[in-house]
């Protein structure tokens, strides 16, 4: 295992709500090595997605530091964080969040365009074909099944070869067959590009396929919950 790709140091996160200030994360520290896969599990509302959002530079912690590689994400400005997301991170969510007015190829191509690699249509097609979407390239998301849409979302997350793949319940809305296929794809393609994978999931089977699992409860990591899986 190489040097840490993701390092979370004593991170806390508070939210202002109408009912007062709420602490979503409380002193979380963890490390994920480059190429390692980590699953984060825990009950609903324990702060899993919040932690993923902090790692993916979607948000800034109230306290503590988040590093991706050598960059301290929590100290970056909006512009730099956006650059980090478009270059280093790849997101897969429970909802596919595909853009409804873009075709399958364009949805994937847009991520490449953001990455500054315009004209990568062939690369998109190649990946999509590999994900079994060869016949769906010119279709709009509305014309696809749920599993197909989630595969397009995976392709979009991987097309720019991110160093870190962040998946938030990627199979939450899929049936068992599609869930397995999507996890297979994420692990396989992520492995090929040497990406670090951090996945939030409720699915024990999906969690078990990661290198490691950490458990969150009430915004804190439970020491008993750290499980190293044999691969």
């Amino acid at each position: 295992m190489s040097a840490a790709a993701v390092r979370v140091e004593d991170v806390s996160m508070d939210y202002e709500t109408p009912g007062g200030r709420v602490r979503a994360l409380d002193g979380i520290s963890l490390e994920v090595s480059a190429g390692e896969s980590l699953s984060i599990v825990g009950p609903s509302g324990c702060g899993k997605s919040t932690l993923l959002g902090l790692i993916g530079a979607l948000d800034v912690p109230t306290a503590g530091r988040v590093r991706i590689g050598e960059d301290e994400v929590s100290g970056l400005g909006e512009r730099e964080r956006a650059a980090l997301r478009r270059g280093v991170c790849g997101f897969v969510f429970q909802a596919d969040n595909l853009h409804p007015f873009l075709t399958v190829v364009e949805n994937v191509g847009f991520q490449l365009a953001l990455h500054g690699a315009d004209g990568g249509a062939e690369r998109c097609v190649e990946l999509l074909v590999r994900l079994g979407l060869a016949d769906e390239l010119g279709k709009l998301p509305d014309q696809l099944s749920g599993g197909q849409r989630q595969r397009v979302a995976v392709a979009r997350a991987l097309i720019h070869r991110p160093a870190v793949i962040l998946a938030d319940e990627p199979t939450g809305a899929l049936d068992a067959g599609n869930s397995e296929r999507v996890i297979d794809l994420v692990i396989a393609v992520g492995g090929e590009i040497g990406a670090t994978l951090v996945m939030v999931t409720h699915d024990p089977e999906a969690a078990a396929r990661m290198d490691r699992t950490v458990t969150l409860r009430d915004g804190r990591l439970t020491t008993a919950g750290v499980i190293a899986h044999a691969r």
Partner: protein
Amino acid sequence: MLARYAWRDLTRNPRRTVAAAIGITLGVGLFSGVLFFIDGSGASMTRRAIAPLALDLQRVLTSPLGARLELTERLTPIRAPGAGNGVRVALTVTNHGTVPAHEVVVGDELAPGLAYVGGTTTRDGRLLRDPGAGTPLAQGLARSGLNLGAVPPGRTVRLVYVAKSAHPVPAAALRPRAQISSQQSIVPTRANVPSQLTLGELAARVRRIPGVAHADGLAFVDLPPGSLSVGGVTTPDTVRVFGFDRAYAAHYPAIRTVAGSFAAGRGALSAEAARTLRARPGSVATLRLPGARGPVPVPIGGVADLSAARSLFNSRRSTDLESFLYVPSSIVLDLETFRRRVVPAFQMASAAHGTATKSLPLEELDVLVQRSRLRSDPGAALAQTRAIARAVRAIAPEQDYQIDNISNTLQVARDDAAVAKRMFLFLGIPGALLAAFLAAFAGGILALAQRREQANLRIRGADRSHLLRMLAYRTLALAGAGSVVGTALGLLSVIAILGSTNVFEASTAELALSALIGVGVGMFTTALALYVPGRRSLQGEIGQERGELVSRPEPAWRRLRLDFVLLAVLVAGEAVALGTGVFDAPPGSVYEGRAVSLPTALLLAPVVAWIAGVMLSLRVFDALASRLPLPAATGFGTPVWGILVRSLRRRSWTLAGGTSAVALVVAFGMSLAIFTATYDAAKGADARFLVGSDMRVTPSVLSTRPHPSSFASRLRTGPVRVVAPVVFKPQNAVLTSSFNEDQVSLAAIEPAGFARVAPLSGASFPGGNGKRRLAALRRDPRGALINARTADELKIGKGDRVQVLFARGTRRQALVALRVVGIFTRLPGFPQGVQVVANLAYYASATHSDRPDFFLARTAAHGPADLARATAALRAGPGRGDRLTIDTTRTALDKDQSSLTALNVKGLLRLDALYTLLMAAAAIGIFVFGLILQRRREYVTMRAQGMRTGELRRLVLGETAAVTVFGLAAGMLVGSVMGYLLVRVLRPLFVLDPGVSLSLLGTLTLVALVAVATVASALAATALLRRLRPTELLREA
């Protein structure tokens, strides 16, 4: 509980609530504002309409010479010879006067069912011969009466005849029908009428009528030139002798005493007469009256400026009651002196058998009503004045006729008010439609945004009826609050425009009714507009947000091609209207008793063009957007441009909602801007046409200085650039053709100067332009321009020779021969009408008089400030120490007493423009925030993908700009068509045919506002996006 949930939903999502309510508020504000505007401006219509009226009511005596002829008729039922029923008719004529009555004619017509018994008519017992088959008292087809010849004073003539009937004669048939007239009293008087009241008796009785403020006697008669002299000096002009008391002068403030006073037993001279006669208070004037034994001495007690006294000089002819026929040489006697000295002289003159006095004294009672007691609504005020007029007429109804100026004026104002209300409502319709549209637009966006919440509620057990009830509560709350606030806003904005005094001149009941209608209509339309999309959304697939792209059905209007159908209807309607001359109605005029005649149905045309035009523009927008070229064949393009183009291409129909909102508002605003600019330009042109140029300078009758044509050069001072002298007086000439002659109004002008000062674009010269005609007049000093109607009546053509009597009725009158060099239909500067235009230089040489009546002046610029500067320069320069009356286009606009003033169109336009600007901003704001509501997950996904805030801002701005730029362009195009149609429909509001004008400032304001609203909304929206929590939004399934 459901109501509480709906309430919390509204209060905890303030942006959404405001977005939904703001359109309703503004739309209802405009609609109710229009209603309040109608109340407020209608309330001041009575005041504005009657303000310029010189005389409220006139009772003009039909026999002013006090003929004391009396006719009595007695009908006695008898058994007719040879038939069952009959009537014996006895007519008695008595001359109670002191002079003989000449040409006394008695006529009597039989009641239906009665037949004259031939050979029964007697005069003073002597049998009269029947003329053919009829009675001597109703001869021939004209039913002419019997001419008794002269009836000496104190004499009685008795006429008796018998009529019969086959059936019993009903009592009603036995009412007197005989009439009598004479040379002195040519208007027939009925039999058995009470003896004639004197002016004093009549005035005393009229004053007692409730609602009458003053009733004053007035008498006058015109005397030929040479009738008035002081010392050895005689006036060369026609003289008018007035008889009225000091109270009359007090009640009509245009009669201004400038020296001495009005006193019983003494006369007052007009300023002109005093100057000509070199008379002053204390002088003794001499009047030569026809029929008088010798000159009548009148000690002079005062000098008066009568030049603005319209009650004295307005024409008494029913065809031109507002013509100001001023007679400069006038003398005023008190009424008693007039009756004692003037009337008997004329009685003597008329009593001389065979003589016909050209001008007879006229006696009338001038009545002023209590204007403060009149209701503010012209219709209600009309009922009041008509009641007063009826009461006045009921006193001695047979001895005179009545001119009810105030009721005539109010009738026009009432009709104008009705037209105004219809027109205002049509101008308010877009407000109501926009309110409904903005409510529906916001409602649609709200419904889409609430789908997820509704899905959550369903998951928690809420069924469809719960959701519908919540929707109803929410709709009621939004529509209710929006309507109430909108109505309050409408009232406040109308107060700001009209002033609280004007608005609250309307009755509380009227205002309350308008408020109720505003709230009611607002609630109904907006509630419907909000509820329907919400309900439709509930029927859709819960949780499905992608529907906006592919599953959105084509709207019904597009499938049915409603835009093309409406446009076809519009074109057909306009073609029919053009063909039938609907747009050629004459302008409204209170003076001419003519209300504004608007083709009300065609007021719908701009509304139809509005809706159809915007629909068509959406079709075009869709077609253009779907053909936008993709940035690159093999790649995506730059992130922002690539997304923007694809979004526009594939979601054009979603964006069309925003386009239509902007286009509708901008089109309405544009049409208002065009109409306002046209209105301003047309009113300015109307004013210039009426004044004759930018300014009209009239030397006061009180001025002691001469004002020859050369005075024009002195008037060229400051901003005054060109000045042209004009001689003009109503009916100051006689025009004779080879067929006929007529009294006409003649203007003598300097053709070159007149061409430079007068707005000849508004003039009409059949077959040639005005400048060429005036050049012809300049080349031929003995040339004349003739009014087309006069030329037609006198059979005069271009090139003909005519005879014209210049300065008719004055010592300087001169008969000249002129050649007609042109025909015109109207000429600027002569609102009273002018029939002949001659060359001033020739006029001056022919009459040996160089005294222009006024000077027309053109200024360097035409704005109000320029005119004010020019007026000040004239007052400080040639006007210093001289009395000059200066009228400008500005004062002409202020004095405009046509129906247009009462309509206060300008105020309504300001109200509409205010709301248009606000609604344009609101529409863009609703669109942008709706876009954010609908697409927040999309934008947040883009952020997660690495799109920077600046790029997102450009994207939102790009989409908003595409929508607003197209909406703006479409709106301006559609608005221009609407403006054109509006101007055409409202053509009768203007004197001159208004061209369509475009206000650059108004248009730029609209464009700038839309641009600012677009940028501000986009910036605010992206700021909002930054505050969203991506992790929460993105994980939602």
